[in-house]
Symmetry: C3
Subunit: 474 residues, 3 copies
Amino acid sequence: MKKPQPRLSLKADRFFDPNPAVRTVARKLYQSVKNLPIISPHGHVDANLFVENNPFPNPAELFLIPDHYIYRMLYSQGIPMESLGVRPLDGSSTESNARKIWKLFGENYYLFRGTPTGAWLNHEFAEVFGIRKRFTGATAIEIYDEINEKLQQPKFRPRALFDRFKIAVLSTTDAATDTLEPHKKIRASGWKGNIIPCFRPDGVTDLKAKNWKTNIELLTERAGVDVTSYSRFIQALENRRVFFKSMGAVSTDHGVSSPHTHEFTKGEGERIFQRALMGQATAEDAAQFTAHMLMEMARMSIEDGLVMQIHPGSDRNHNRIIYDKYGPDKGCDIPMPTEYTHNLKDLLNKYGNDSRLTVIVFTLDETTYARELAPLAGHYPAMKLGPPWWFHDSIEGMMRFRSMVTETAGIYNTAGFNDDTRAFVSIPARHDLSRRVDANFLAGLVTRHIVELDEAQDMIYDLANGLVKKAYKL
Amino acid sequence: MKKPQPRLSLKADRFFDPNPAVRTVARKLYQSVKNLPIISPHGHVDANLFVENNPFPNPAELFLIPDHYIYRMLYSQGIPMESLGVRPLDGSSTESNARKIWKLFGENYYLFRGTPTGAWLNHEFAEVFGIRKRFTGATAIEIYDEINEKLQQPKFRPRALFDRFKIAVLSTTDAATDTLEPHKKIRASGWKGNIIPCFRPDGVTDLKAKNWKTNIELLTERAGVDVTSYSRFIQALENRRVFFKSMGAVSTDHGVSSPHTHEFTKGEGERIFQRALMGQATAEDAAQFTAHMLMEMARMSIEDGLVMQIHPGSDRNHNRIIYDKYGPDKGCDIPMPTEYTHNLKDLLNKYGNDSRLTVIVFTLDETTYARELAPLAGHYPAMKLGPPWWFHDSIEGMMRFRSMVTETAGIYNTAGFNDDTRAFVSIPARHDLSRRVDANFLAGLVTRHIVELDEAQDMIYDLANGLVKKAYKL
Amino acid sequence: MKKPQPRLSLKADRFFDPNPAVRTVARKLYQSVKNLPIISPHGHVDANLFVENNPFPNPAELFLIPDHYIYRMLYSQGIPMESLGVRPLDGSSTESNARKIWKLFGENYYLFRGTPTGAWLNHEFAEVFGIRKRFTGATAIEIYDEINEKLQQPKFRPRALFDRFKIAVLSTTDAATDTLEPHKKIRASGWKGNIIPCFRPDGVTDLKAKNWKTNIELLTERAGVDVTSYSRFIQALENRRVFFKSMGAVSTDHGVSSPHTHEFTKGEGERIFQRALMGQATAEDAAQFTAHMLMEMARMSIEDGLVMQIHPGSDRNHNRIIYDKYGPDKGCDIPMPTEYTHNLKDLLNKYGNDSRLTVIVFTLDETTYARELAPLAGHYPAMKLGPPWWFHDSIEGMMRFRSMVTETAGIYNTAGFNDDTRAFVSIPARHDLSRRVDANFLAGLVTRHIVELDEAQDMIYDLANGLVKKAYKL
């Protein structure tokens, strides 16, 4: 049955409270920041996009196939990964007809009603590509053709979009062993886009990481230090941090299972490291080593000034069948309960009173906002709270974050917004949504006479730009 | 001091946001579903009601004495169970004057202000019985008489109310060893009320269940399989499922303490089962056995198509004094923190990618909505989320559920509403409240321009009827 | 750059929902209780204030230096404790220029935007001291002088403020070994201010308390019982409770790490107590002893009628550097996840059905509101819920509490408000905020037709005065 083709229109007041008084203030606050440059201090966009600056291949390859935020929802409703074009590791067949994939996406786009993914996609369609019809099975091919045509135009190439999006700085996330070739090439190209790396050493600090041994060999090569002992391992990491800093890095990132921090003696470190080199490290060794390396990373951050980010609490690759067939980052990472008060104690006791350190802590466990994270950030000078992360990077998620954090930590112990995305084209949509929700949150404070309008005007600027610049020393 | 007797009036816009824009949309959405049939796929109404079709005895016996949701609140304020007519197991005396009990209830009815129980009762009084005065100590006897008089009328008998309530299907919850005599008699009677059983084998799968050994003997008898070994136990359960299915069952139900799932070998199963038969099973045996039986139940569900429901996280009979004196289900079951990400891993890894399975997961721990359950349901094809359960089956509880689940899982990985009640007369009140709250939730999305009105119209239908039908294969 | 000096004005409708219908009802409800006397059954004001009745020394000493709620926020932004006048234990130097400290406070006062501390301070400035300018770096000295001048006036002395604040009763919190000299002196003075003690025996019941042995010696002296055995220890505590009761105490208070309750045999008690006397108690001994003493305290409360308060879940002195330098209560107590369902089971099973006992339970873990505490309080006659505590004593914190507790426990199993403050001058601000938020909560119920206006009028009185009087037997 043919459905009508309704219009896609982004409302000017979207995401604002329907109360007219709140909405008026929210609109005013939002207007004052909507055109500010985008600062993206943490994310996963591929820097090669901007080296090659090739056109994006087609809508399915641009929006759907690389973005597990999106296809996991289709998969949850029983749509096979193969029919969505996701590629198995063994090279076995997957749907290759981009139009057919796109049609299937359109037919199931209703699944995204009420989700941030849906809100971002609508923004991307309307604002980036000028689409004027709602995405459905009936309009899918028409929209495909319209986007596809635009993708061939120079102004839809990555660098042009980067400029159009007014991105002031974009941080990638890179292995400790990365050569940062794309970052070098971008610098060499003369193009002015400010794309900086971030030092994420999980592949060598997590003794149970896939290919850990190979990573250590690579580290030897890249750091110019023969990593045969714990102390040389530390030296190699220090060398790599120097290199990353020279390439513009302002931060490190640590994707740990638990935020546990605990220092062991140098002797213990050496013993564990040797066991790992011999392939004999236990799970307990790995957990202890990670807890220790967070301490070491804080020490190094105090020395070199790199801002430290801790991203704990995801049970990665929960679905073994999907992981074995497709690899990591396929929409099957599931949050776990996470504890911070005891786990961060050693790190904060040793380094948390030192204002030279900034450690930005993220969580997937919202129960820790008011109970643990806001009280910690509201006391320790070194600690700041990262924005609502991943599943919580959403309208309601942001409102819960502000509502549970602000009264104890204020807004000034938070670190602004970051998009944490691999979907480059979604960056403006995500920042716009964040600015709208923050404006709406502040409008709630103003209309309830908790802050004055002029205070809210300062605050919205800080939430959109000031805090992120300060937290990441940009 | 005599108080005035204020009117009881159910407002047309009750439970809707007071914002006029939201309210207008909420009303429109609610109107479109308020008269849809009630689908009640999970509950505890006694099927015998509809076999005998006798009049309900009196208001106290209808509303208060069998409903622990209600008398627990009176008990919490120091009112003895005996004065409320609750019957001790040993047959010792309890108040038997229904009028006196009802008066005491009326005097303390103010305790229910702001509770869903209060909202349901007001609905039942006003809509089912046409009461026009508010229930207080002063009006109690008058209301008693008015209800009592109606209870004698044919149109207030169970079958007549079932029809008047427009119940399309009502599922009871039944032991694996149940003969389902009332269900057979209803079928035989020619009455068309669609009352189906649900297979709940806790009494035989929980090795620590009261009377486990007797239950196993009963299982032997009912299944026609001599349950002397683990494999015969499994065979007996399979037989019973065939029988339940033949009687119209569409689902199974598992009231477990923890949602832990883990398969053991056949040999281990046999050893534990033999220990249990000899009365030597340990608490650890029982926990392992339950974890294994959830795996087995999922396997059987894939084979026979019965939808699997998991209801974990209640510390049953927390109050030992009350339990010893009055037995189970006396308002002293208290929720516990519950973990799903690790506990469901084995089940979801083995069966969660199989779309033939539907496993509907409930929780009493709201912290798991956004952290664990929505991400799991937003990925695994087999998993759906049950509605806010028990203490959370309430206006604010439902709003928290939608607010914490929808952005990650959408509405389409949820399973609609179910009332889970033993209080037959409260069924329309509960479904009405749910429809109102869902309409209000969607109106919030529409007025914030997160979804369009026509999308919300689709969604309210799905929330009221579409999703429950799909989830329970009705 | 000189900033303008904006006006400080407390809006009549502050903290109310901006929806006009809600606001109208909230205002009406609030008006009916705003002038009710203040009942403050739990707090940490120094009773000596009212013995000496000296003028407060200066604004910095009045508002900032003794209040860790405030300076922790400044410290979190890297402002050293020394520059805020906080005094190190070793007597080493700290800033002593009160004007300079006050200026620094003013310059950073923007940090408190959106926090309850900011709301309270604004109330204190405007309502207690008649300040008409907003507190900033630019206005700091002017405001300092204005407050300082007032502090010299008789009507700003402690007793005069006590009367002006309409405090009907103020409870202090006192060690089991306290002589309650100030309470005696106040009684003897003829001044009518009703200041009562509260019995908090943590210093002797926590075997790991600092100076435990000294405290036991003091207990021997004060109780007139030679505390050389467990049974004499119990006897000494009973004696002290008699004394506290004679001085007007209505309650006991227990600041425990965990709410675990478990009784051991008299023999075990003796063995542990003897180990403690010899300085050989382990951490496990101490945990067991605390769990047992909560049982004993409940038993004594049934006998003597003192209301029992349990305050668990704070990891005290998380920041060891600050603790070593400045001592306890310096803004570095961090909440921990807390479990109640299992931990309170022994106490509630033994004493929870006894209406002679009132045990008021607090939490810093909001996840337990709907999951554990409301179901427990909604069943056990002896248990009531304390108000949102510490970090959660805030606008949003109170709204979450009501929203998560009321539907299961009603308002009638809660214990009204208490300010729990050492900042005497903030007491009216805190009670006013609480009354406003409760009025706003009820207005939400009224406008959504969940309760009627006349019911809300009863409820707001109970929330402001009725429940606290009943819970604390005042």
